[in-house]
Point group: C2
Chain length 167, copies 2
DNA sequence: CGCAACTGCTTGCAAATTGCATACAGAAAG
DNA sequence: CTTTCTGTATGCAATTTGCAAGCAGTTGCG
């Protein structure tokens, strides 16, 4: 079932855990979009995951300790997916990915705004973001600053800009 | 040949470019191990790439602008692979991957030493490393500080420690 | 109650990708 | 000149992907 480890190099092991085309997309959507349910992830995916792939990745991410599941008290059939501490600590990595992608790939302005803010905010902002995620996913005390709020606001403003520009 | 872009999200686009099990391994070996030839990459790979996969990834990385090729003046049959500026700017991303892997995967101490140094060195060290890579791969002026030297020294010391410990 | 919509998946199946072994043509070394 | 080294290419089996459809239990609503 689980394939043998190729080497003990931390970069390689990170790749073995997250180095495919979907795992980080799922984590990104849970992290930035606060998508906590299967259907939510499936239908609101910017990239369009297939249902079997999503189910497989969720299972693997839970197995590998990056996500945890819990029951939804309001709906007996719903499973709530939460980020674990290791997944939350992917924030700096994801921020660097966004920063690199913004520079060297044909990313759209709209979808790059959040990456830009995260890059400009630096480690201080990443820490605040992680504190917020710990509050949302691990039940920690809510922090004063809402990075998700800042990012969402900037994103919506960029979308509004585009719409206005077109009219 | 080239598949359609899934979305304009910078994180997604970075994944589409590097999100497989081998691309970053190749870049890592060129970057940290200064492996500049095909055979060198093939035989000294910690993880054991297959020859067809290596050829395919080298081609794709060149196509995508992360590597460049040049002729080896000393050997008409040899191709020299060099990092381009976009690949050099992966240093912060790779440093974060190493830092994360060191914490959350069963990485061996020996192979984690360099990741630890890079993490502790922070952005200042990353910049010095990038300057050194620009010298090695892009013909820029050689910098005073040799990060590769520091990393290699620490790695060899760790290996020596292990060997001594065993005897 | 009754039925449609929604829940998180699962299953078939074709196509693409991977990984292993082997082959190969040209160049360099002895 | 023959062996070794260069960067690939080629079969082939096994795995992975992606699309479409199905499915049993739950909930919302009239």
């Amino acid at each position: 079932m689980d394939k043998p480890i190729r080497s003990g190099c931390p970069i390689n092991l990170t790749l073995e855990m997250l180095g495919d085309r979907w795992s980080l997309i799922v984590i990104r959507d849970i992290m930035f979009g606060n998508r906590r349910h299967y259907r939510d992830l499936l239908n609101n995916s910017e990239e369009g995951v297939a249902s079997n792939i999503l189910a497989d990745r969720l299972k693997k991410l839970v197995d590998r300790g990056l996500l945890s599941t819990s029951a939804d008290p309001a709906h007996k059939q719903k499973t709530v997916y939460s980020l674990t501490e290791p997944a939350i600590q992917l924030v700096p990595l994801i921020a660097q990915m966004g920063a690199w992608g913004r520079r060297f790939t044909p990313a759209t302005r709209e979808l790059s705004i959040r990456a830009q803010l995260l890059e400009e905010g630096g480690p201080e902002m990443w820490e605040a973001f992680m504190a917020e995620l710990r509050s949302l996913h691990l039940g920690a005390q809510p922090p004063q600053r809402s990075v998700i709020g800042e990012l969402t606001e900037a994103y919506l403003a960029a979308v509004a800009d585009r719409v206005t520009g077109r009219l």
